[in-house]
């Protein structure tokens, strides 16, 4: 069937035509202004990895720290040094400094470094980072692990720990004891001694306060 030819209408008045044209332009502007909204504005979150429009050499086939590898059998791109490897300057000759034990195998009584202001300050910093979460700021063992999980944590102000030689505390930090895991990895040996110096300071303060307080008040 053939469609009838379109009916020729008389041209509309001039005023109406300009108005219609103006509204059409306005419509285009309004529509295009919605384009950004249809996608996503800057800073909106997405779990999809970013698309780099010019990938350039952003991703190179090289091993980066803490990445996976399809080449090595254990799936890690970082390799372990051969057992027994000693890094330059890493020969642990000073047994007391690195193990807390003297040549006779007994714990050393005092820290094998000089305890000065700088060491105590370093100890305070490291204590706040690694010890305070469980042992709390004053060493009472009422940290978040106790508050949130009711997990008992040792207080430093108990007879047993007051009598510990410094080397034994070093050994506890290094290898852990009971529920406390080893903190060998995040705290290097020098910082462990700094922490011990700071903890000894906490203990001394508490005892001095207890001694000066009137009887019955603690």
């Amino acid at each position: 069937m053939i469609a009838p030819p379109p009916l020729k209408l008389p041209p509309p008045p001039r005023l109406r035509r300009t108005r219609r044209r103006a509204s059409r332009v306005l419509g285009v502007i309004v529509l295009t202004s919605f384009i950004p909204l249809a996608g996503c504005a800057r800073g909106c979150t997405s779990s999809r990895p970013p698309i780099h429009l010019n990938p350039s050499m952003d991703d190179q086939p090289k091993a980066l720290p803490q990445t996976a590898s399809t080449f090595f059998y254990d799936g890690a791109s970082m390799r372990q040094p051969v057992p027994g490897t000693v890094a330059i300057g890493g020969l642990k000759e000073d047994v007391a400094f690195f193990t807390g034990k003297g040549a006779d195998g007994q714990f050393v009584a005092t820290i094998p470094v000089t305890a000065d202001e700088a060491l105590l300050e370093r100890g305070r910093q490291r204590y706040v980072i690694y010890c305070q979460p469980c042992h709390d700021a004053r060493g009472d063992g009422k940290g978040i692990l106790f508050q949130r999980g009711s997990v008992p944590t040792a207080t430093f102000h108990q007879e047993k720990i007051l009598k510990y030689p410094d080397g034994q505390i070093f050994d506890v930090i290094t290898n852990g004891v009971g529920l406390m895991p080893a903190y060998r990895w995040p705290i290097p040996p020098a910082d462990r001694w700094a922490i011990i110096a700071y903890v000894r300071g906490l203990q001394r303060d508490r005892q001095a306060r207890a001694a000066s307080a009137p009887a019955g008040v603690k």
């Binding site: 384009i35 996608g39 997405s46 190179q60 910093q125 979460p133 999980g149 705290i187």
Partner: protein
């Protein structure tokens, strides 16, 4: 004979003029807006294998960044913690949580967790965390308020121009080194005095030449 140019060709000049203005304007605006790393990279929030909440652990429990990211002061890399770090507490707290099952599996098998990297620089940019945190650039300056994030999200573009903005004028971005991991630190009213003091104590000279970051 039919006309070669129908009457609507009369509109051509005005249509061409409008298209010639609107088209390029939209194109330029679109590239400016959508091709920028502020659009492509900011807001990346991958779904991690365990929904670890920095808001809980840092914001509420008050763990220091370095409790887990311990190598940040001594290494180029701010390490992701080994599974053992999670187990320090989670051997005793929330031991039976189903959400923590991958952590327990990892601790038992020794296979590392496959966390998904959020902040990913191009491989030809060599960033070092050690230099930045010891120069008094706070974690929050680049990573945003991690202590308020349930899931870590990229907050800054990590683009070259963004890096250079600070490298050319580091002063106002510096803070005392003791406050680097403090998420809530705000600059004192007299920033210039602090900047002057920090510059005296530890002058910095961030590189702005190519080889500073590209080897």
């Amino acid at each position: 004979m039919a006309q070669i140019f129908p009457p609507w060709w009369n509109k051509l000049p005005i249509v061409a003029a409008i298209a010639g203005i609107i088209g390029p304007t939209l194109a330029i605006a679109g590239v400016w807006y959508f091709f920028s790393p502020w659009y492509t990279d900011v807001g990346y929030r991958p779904v991690q294998p365990v929904p670890y909440s920095h808001k809980l652990h840092v914001g509420e429990l008050g763990l220091d960044c370095r409790y887990c990211h311990a190598s940040v002061e001594i290494s180029n890399v701010a390490n992701l913690p080994p599974t053992q770090t999670c187990m320090n507490c989670h051997q005793a707290v929330k031991r039976d949580s189903a959400l923590l099952a991958p952590i327990r599996d990892s601790a038992q098998s020794g296979r590392p967790m496959r966390w998904i990297r959020v902040h990913n620089l191009p491989d030809y940019a060599y960033f070092t965390h050690r230099m930045h945190v010891t120069a008094g650039i706070g974690c929050v300056t680049c990573h945003g308020r991690i202590d308020e994030m349930e899931t870590v999200t990229q907050m800054t573009p990590l683009s070259m121009s963004w890096c250079l903005d600070c490298h050319r004028n580091p002063g106002p971005h510096r803070r005392p080194v003791s406050e680097v991991t403090n998420m809530k630190w705000t600059a004192p009213r007299d920033v210039q005095a602090l900047t002057a003091q920090l510059d005296r104590e530890r002058p910095v000279n961030p590189p702005t030449d190519c080889s500073g970051c590209h080897r």
